[in-house]
């Protein structure tokens, strides 16, 4: 999980620090130092037409739209934690971070795991927002497999190729599905709030 997080941050930072050219550590520090002493500089960007920005620009709206409902679900789980637990932790001298690490995160963990597998498979299927925002452009920058399948089937009418692609994608995900089913068997469902 941590590796994945670091990987994501690496991608994200690479995207915002200048993309393809690898600066190296020293030159990178120099680059950032230069950035610090300058005023803000900005050139007009073609957010959806620029290969550098296209993927983050497509993802951002779904983050904005999905974060609210997702956080409400986690919040419901957090509400189920008894306040006494926090008080007891405080008596033991726990700081905020301790409370997060030892109370909040263990409470959320089953939910996080289930959501993670679902979200992971979901991202492989999602194409609607990409289709509306960029239609796969610029070049092939945002052409994900599910969108390519859609194009094959309904734009080029190669239904056979599209079905074959869809099955290859499905077979790749079958491992994750198995993992998810196994996980769901282990988790017990309880009510979070006790009277």
């Amino acid at each position: 999980m941590l590796c994945l997080g670091i990987g994501c941050w690496y991608f994200f930072l690479k995207t915002i620090t200048g993309g393809e050219e690898h600066l190296g550590l020293l030159a990178g520090i120099k680059h950032w130092a230069k950035w610090m002493v300058e005023g803000f500089q900005f050139e007009r960007q073609d957010w959806l037409g620029d290969p550098k920005w296209a993927i983050p620009a497509v993802i951002l709206p779904s983050v904005w739209a999905g974060a609210g409902i997702g956080s409400l679900i986690y919040l419901a789980a957090l509400k189920g934690v008894d306040d006494e637990l926090y008080e007891a932790a405080e008596l033991d001298g726990a700081a905020l971070l301790h409370k997060v690490r030892f109370i909040a995160i263990p409470t959320l963990l089953p939910l996080i795991i289930i959501n993670f597998v679902g979200a992971f498979i979901g991202t492989f299927h999602s194409m609607g927002n990409i289709f509306v925002m960029t239609g796969g452009g610029p070049g092939d920058e945002t052409m994900v497999l599910s969108l390519a399948i859609w194009y094959q089937a309904f734009a080029f009418l190669n239904f056979s190729t599209a079905t074959a692609m869809a099955w290859v994608l499905g077979l790749m995900l079958i491992g994750f599905t198995a993992f998810q089913l196994n996980m769901l068997q282990k988790v017990e469902f309880r009510r979070t709030v006790t009277e």
């Binding site: 005023g39 957010w47 739209a65």
Partner: protein, 322 residues
């Protein structure tokens, strides 16, 4: 008729000069701007009919538009000859399927081998799940066999649900799967081609490009969209007041239709100076220099804090474990 109708609508200047002349509406020709008239002339004398062959749509969109045309306009140094050459070989090999019989025979052997392996793995997984479920069931009944006299009763009760799932979900899926093994056409006859479609997909270099894009996309989506709600929930649970207000605020985007959200954001991303993000960016440049530096220092501190946040938690955990 069409021409007259369009002229009545006031669209005369968008029509072809020849069409106007044919309809006897010469006086409208002067409305067409001179450079447009020139362009019409050039395209009328130099036109070529698009070639037509099976798969031309995919060749023109995927290979010519996506790989060549878009880059000619954005990148001055783009080597369009090499790109066109690549497109040509790709079209010949993958879309038109110009592979020799011997090559195809070799690929087919490999494909059937892979199919066998995949089927074995799926069968093994299915068996494993069967064992798991049986074990669960035994745990639930305590290992004792219940004496169910009417063995068909549960099946009868489940029949409506099973039937509707079967008819509406699994039958179309099975029917659809058959298409993958055919050379399917919307109209007319189809022929059975075995695994040729799969071979075509797996040998398609574009497929791997799309796959890497998919992996990149899902990694970034998970990184940005999956962990944000957790952080937000943690923050929200610590908010002392106005909880209901914030909760409502969080929920509001959910009410609007996703297509509306996407179109809204598309407007905000507009490349013109009026696009919201571009406007914000231009506003940023107007901030006086010392203020800008102060903001940057604060931003940098926040980023560093967020980046080391997981490590602090881990360190605290270690300290607490001692």
């Amino acid at each position: 008729m069409q021409t007259e109708y369009l002229v009545e609508q006031g669209l005369a200047k968008y029509l072809l000069p020849d069409r106007l002349k044919q309809a006897g509406l010469d006086e409208y020709i002067d409305e067409i701007p001179a450079n447009w008239k020139h362009d019409w002339m050039v395209s009328a004398t130099n036109w070529r009919c698009e070639p037509h062959c099976p798969g031309w749509d995919s060749i023109s969109t995927l290979l010519i538009t996506n790989d060549v045309t878009r880059f000619i306009f954005t990148n001055k140094n783009f080597d369009y000859r090499a790109a066109l050459k690549r497109a040509e070989t790709h079209a010949n090999n993958n879309i038109l399927g110009e592979r020799t019989g011997a090559q195809m025979a070799r690929y087919r052997r490999i494909a059937y081998m892979i199919l066998e392996i995949v089927l074995t793995v799926i069968a093994a997984l299915g068996w494993w799940f069967g064992v798991l479920i049986k074990r669960k069931a035994q745990e639930a009944t305590g290992g004792a066999k219940k004496n169910v006299t009417l063995w068909w009763m549960p099946w009868l009760l489940m029949a409506p649900a099973l039937l509707s799932i079967g008819v509406w979900a699994y039958y179309p899926m099975a029917r659809g799967t058959l298409i993958a093994f055919q050379d399917y056409k919307l109209t007319g006859d189809y022929t059975w081609v075995g695994l040729d479609n799969f071979i075509k997909v797996m040998l398609d270099p574009k497929f791997y490009i799309y796959l890497t894009k998919t992996l990149k996309f899902s990694a970034m989506t998970i990184g940005l969209a999956f962990f944000t709600p957790i952080l937000l929930a943690l923050f929200l649970s610590e908010v002392p007041r106005l909880k209901i207000f914030f909760r409502t605020l969080y929920f509001l985007p959910q009410i609007s239709s996703s297509i509306v959200i996407m179109l809204l954001w598309r407007q905000m991303y507009s490349p013109s100076p009026t696009g919201l993000f571009n406007q914000l960016g231009m506003k940023l440049t107007e901030i006086p220099h010392p203020v800008a530096i102060a903001i940057k220092v604060i931003l940098a501190l926040i980023v560093v804090a967020i980046l080391i946040f997981p490590f602090t938690i881990a360190m605290n955990a270690e300290v607490a474990n001692r």
